[in-house]
Amino acid sequence: MMDTVVVPLLKIAVLLNAVLVAVTFLVLMERKVIAWAQSRLGPMRVGPYGILQAIADPIKLILKEDITPARADKYVFTLAPIMSLVPALVVFSVVPFGPDPFYYVSDINVGLLFVISVTSIGVYGIILGGWASNSKYPLLASLRASAQLISYEIAVTMTLVSVILTTGTLSLVGIVEAQREGGLWFAFVQPVALMLVFIGGLAETNRAPFDLPEAETELTGGFHTEYSGMRFSLFFLAEYANMIVISAVVVIMFFGGWLAPFPNVPALSFLGLVPAWIWFIGKIFLFLYVFIWIRATLPRYRYDQLMGLGWKVLIPIAIGNLVVTGILKVAL
Amino acid sequence: MLEITPLHYSLLSAALFMIGVIGVLVRRNVIIIFMSIELILNAVNINLIALSDQLQDLAGQVFVVFVIAVAAAEAAVGLGIIIAFYRNKETVNIDEIQIMRW
């Protein structure tokens, strides 16, 4: 009973809180990094260097009036943000933060497929939110979101298959172990796959330059135009939680998860003394930084160009990568 | 009641199957009819998986994979037809599709 119910529940509670706190600070990090990129200071008023802004923002969002438009579909309107957040949080149940079972809630043998399939559920929140608002811009946004997600999911899944071919396991722990045994992170074995997964991840989390369902300058905020207060903040949480998920997946698949870098260089062996989970979280934050950096730099794609990129560029490359991986796997 | 046998799964499957059949027969909205067909396919899948577990034979699961593939194909083509039809007739009522031409 202790091992099957209490401990996992405790882990889940800790993990959920950690993720939600991380998300609030991620918002602050995004504001700060973008501010620095734009030669601004960013939030400075609340606490030293604006650190307490991460607490002030959620409080503001919770206290704000939560408006339901008069002609909205009330139930779906409330359900949509929840449907968007829950899958993003569920994924963390299979993310390993370290080598021992202590560091993860569960390690299932279809872990990678689980991550892909559960994240694909998250799009319902966006689609339904846009539809339930009974407003035209959100409707356009939700049509965009559904088309975008389906297209990019194919590319990402195809690419992950080529990584699975290299590892021979779907378990996330197994994938990291394979990199430890191989002594080489998959970023160097599968560089094309890394690019594809990262680009696809940007598109799936609706981040710039693929933030078309939001596109505040075109669709005035897209699917969450009509949302406010707590329900809006749930969408917000979901977006950032998804960013963490994608970063975690990229780190696990391509950057050795919790492994310390340069294990074979004796001069740098002190890197191994740092706890594994710190390496993992540090790598995740590196990728979150890249997410934010890209947002500060690039303009936005247009809808047709986005679909063209997905279907005409990424999917062919993904299939080509898969074929080459297969051939090399058999040949070597 | 407390011990779950494959019979339970089969009955669940049968009940879901019936719900799907009712949906197909009663509803006039083509899209809902399509969804009812998906329910029927799911009912069959439950049965296949339950029996696969009981017989310790993977054939059932293989068939489920095929059923899902067929369902995907069916959804793609079927929804394509619905869109093409709606574009011309502005309706998705099955009673108005009976002439099979437009």
């Binding site: 497929l113 319902y124 | 779950i4 799907g20 009663v26 293989v62 995907a72």
Partner: protein, 183 residues
């Protein structure tokens, strides 16, 4: 005991949601119930040691096909519900009666054929003898049937597998031809 609780909960929810799917007034609500229904069916698959199929169910059904349905439902924004044209009550009665007949037949077959009720445990009835089911269990939490399923799919069922991929290709082209306005 635990299995019974899970099964009955799931059974009630699946059937209830099924009824909601076919009775919801708005097509979008139907799609919503359908998604939840499929997710619960996936949980049922996990109970039955078919976790690969469960994940595929979520990935393909809930994540792909139903999104497509939702897409079409929103595209076909209906001004009036299609039900208004016909006399719904007559059709409903006929439909329910017919469906009841089907149910009776199915239940009769199920009950009659599962006379023994005990797990038959006859391995390899359909040519899968080379991959005994019992071998898996090496996985950390749940047994690993993905590998075996892949093995069977690419050996015993290779031709059906290829035919299925052909079918998908044909469906893809068909859908493009149907949906494209001008070729």
């Amino acid at each position: 005991m635990a299995e019974a609780i899970v099964f009955w909960t799931l059974a009630v929810l699946i059937l209830g949601l099924g009824i909601m799917v076919i009775s919801a007034r708005s097509a979008v609500h139907s799609v919503l119930f359908l998604v939840v229904n499929f997710l619960l069916v996936a949980v049922l698959y996990v109970m039955l040691n078919a976790e690969f199929v469960a994940v595929i169910q979520v990935l393909v059904y809930a994540g792909g096909i139903v999104v497509l349905y939702l897409f079409v439902v929103m595209l076909v924004s209906l001004k009036k519900a299609p039900e208004r044209y016909a006399d719904p009550r007559r059709v409903a009665w006929t439909g329910t009666l017919l469906a009841g007949a089907v149910l009776l037949e199915v239940v009769a077959i199920v009950v009659a054929s599962s006379g023994g009720g005990e797990p038959a445990a006859t391995e390899g009835a359909l040519g899968a003898a080379d991959t005994p089911f019992a071998e898996c269990g090496a996985g950390p939490l749940v047994s690993c049937n993905t590998e075996q399923l892949g093995w069977v799919l690419y050996t015993s069922y290779l031709i059906p597998f290829e035919v299925a991929s052909m079918l998908l290709l044909v469906a893809m082209i068909g859908a493009i031809v149907l949906a494209k306005r001008h070729l």
